[in-house]
């Protein structure tokens, strides 16, 4: 695993339409908040792990050229990482790798997007599909996840209401998160169920909003941690796993890539029973059904049992393993920052700095990222103790 590494500072921007803030300003805001969070300055940062999603979203190719200075990258190594929806997770893991390898002691990971700068994020998302076979029918991200969701429903016999209920739980959690975009007072099942069907079986309520946001995390080598903070989030496990789209026996309801990522990360962290040992999880639930499918991927339960686990209330804020106290991606999706928000939220929880969405006494947390056509996954596990 290399050297021991901790997160010492986290910086988030609000998820919304930032009509008053350019893309460099948005990245700078996340970076300066992360520095302020741990009392470091840009001079302390030795390298930058830079994340940004498909160029098509803002129509700006090679964005790190434009944004390196805004991240404090002047005369420093800046490494661009791009893995679609997982990019924020991959950029965080990239930052961790740079420190764990011994090459750098203090590294900034930052990732973001401004999805409101395009006429429709779905135009960009449409171009991620195979241009010869697949792009002809797609509807951006919703069509792929509609296929996944219906496969899950029909394979295991869940009715449409499960997705709606998962969406409602996340929207209610988001009320405690100052950085979330979708915060609707009194949000309930009837409100969600009455929204239009956009891409069967997905209603508007089953889908994430379109956000502008950036997120930053500062990774520091073990021997530097104590001087900076007494509340670090130690990296206990890390995994990034991908697969293909057309491979044999692929089942869209069974994310074997996420299962493999979880097994790798749990082994590193010494976790044997994740449902018992983890205190809080942040999942990349851009669509409601993914909340349930990802429960199975990260081994909280067997394949097909995600809905029944949800029924038990274990993952509610009042349960023994709250899922997405932040409201998750269902309430804030900039894509570029979304997977890093999951890692940053998980880190804040074990630092005890998650404010109104804090899970009391959280010591071990998991942050997840999803991207591609269900086949890219990242996981980071954080602990309050080394």
């Amino acid at each position: 695993m290399g050297r021991r590494v901790a997160v010492v500072g986290v910086g988030m921007t609000e998820n919304k339409s930032h009509w008053d803030c350019s893309m460099p300003a948005l990245y700078r805001l996340a970076v300066t908040r992360a520095l302020a969070d741990c009392g470091l300055t840009h001079r302390d940062i030795q390298a930058i792990s830079f994340g940004h999603s498909p160029e098509y979203f803002e129509g700006i190719n090679h964005p790190e050229k434009w944004l390196a200075e805004a991240c404090g990258g002047y005369l420093k190594p800046v490494f661009r990482i791009h893995t679609g929806g997982t990019v924020g997770g991959s950029a965080a893991i990239g930052g961790y790798y740079l420190v764990a390898s011994g090459m750098f002691d203090v590294v900034m990971a930052v990732s973001g997007n401004k999805l409101n700068e395009t006429a429709s994020a779905q135009i960009g998302l449409g171009t991620v599909y195979d241009p010869i076979i697949g792009r002809q029918f797609n509807t951006g991200a919703p069509s792929a996840v509609a296929l996944q969701s219906l496969r899950y429903m029909s394979k295991y016999g869940y009715d449409e209401d499960y997705g709606i209920r998962a969406a409602v739980q996340n929207r209610q959690n988001a009320m405690n998160n100052p950085y979330a975009q979708l915060k609707i007072p009194g949000y309930n099942f009837e409100m969600a169920k009455s929204t239009p069907m956009l891409c069967y079986p997905l209603r508007l309520a089953d889908m994430c909003p379109t956000s502008d946001a950036a997120c930053a995390m500062i990774f520091v080598a073990e021997d530097r941690v104590k001087k900076i903070t007494d509340r670090p989030a130690w990296v206990k496990g890390t995994a990034a796993v991908s697969a293909g789209v057309y491979y044999a026996d692929r089942d869209w309801a069974v994310p074997i890539e996420l299962r493999k990522a979880a097994e790798i990360a749990y082994k590193q962290a010494g976790i044997k029973d994740p449902l018992k040992e983890l205190d809080v999880i942040e999942l990349y639930n851009a669509f409601s059904w993914q909340e349930l499918v990802w429960y199975e991927g990260i081994k909280l339960c067997d394949w097909g049992e995600g809905g029944r686990l949800f029924d038990k209330g274990i993952t509610a804020m009042t349960g023994s393993l709250p899922s997405n106290p932040s409201g998750g991606v269902l309430c804030a999706n900039s894509i570029g920052a979304a997977a890093m928000f999951r890692k940053a939220e998980a880190a804040l929880q074990v630092m005890g700095k998650a404010g109104a969405r804090q899970v009391q006494g959280a010591k071990l947390s998991l942050g997840h990222g999803w991207g591609g056509a269900i086949q890219f996954h990242t996981i980071m596990i954080f602990g309050s103790e080394k």
Binding site: A146, S154, A248
Partner: protein, 150 residues
């Protein structure tokens, strides 16, 4: 109130041409000239993949040089009905499309669903290809899949 200039509007327009490569060139020649679908078998796991590829992604092993004719009938694995429209969409909603497991193959083939009311579409139903009378050597040499005739 003082004047505020907030943003600038521009459009990127970039035309492309995507190369099929050896296998898809031959695959679409067969759909165009003979209305036939072909798959290929992995030399290691023996799974049949359609359309043919040179290497099985799971095994990273070469596939058989000998192509296998596969049925244009199969089972609908999952589907969606798209009502959401957005600029630049290649097909106008509402439309249905799904993933079909063609008989004798081991992966999923995506295409439109036609000649069926949306509410009659069900996962695991039998479907068959409807061929385009004017094939051009692309995915729309098949117009869509419809419920299998009894």
């Amino acid at each position: 109130m003082s004047e505020i200039i907030k943003s600038v509007k521009r459009t990127n327009y970039v035309p492309y041409r995507w190369v099929y490569g050896r296998d898809l060139s031959r695959f679409f020649l067969e759909t165009k000239n003979h209305k036939k679908l072909y798959g290929v078998r992995c030399t290691k796991c023996k799974k049949v993949l359609v359309p043919p590829v040179e290497v099985c992604g799971v095994c990273f092993a070469p596939t058989d040089k000998q192509w296998i004719p596969v049925s244009d009938h199969g089972v609908l694995n999952t589907y969606t009905v798209v009502n959401l429209s957005f600029p630049g969409q290649p097909t106008n909603p509402p439309y249905a499309y799904g993933l079909v497991q063609l008989d004798g193959t081991d992966n999923l083939f995506s295409h439109l669903l036609g000649e069926v009311k949306f509410e009659k579409i069900k996962p695991n139903m039998r479907v068959q290809a409807v061929w385009n009378p004017e094939p051009k050597g692309d995915l729309f040499d098949i117009k869509y899949f419809k419920p299998e005739e009894k």
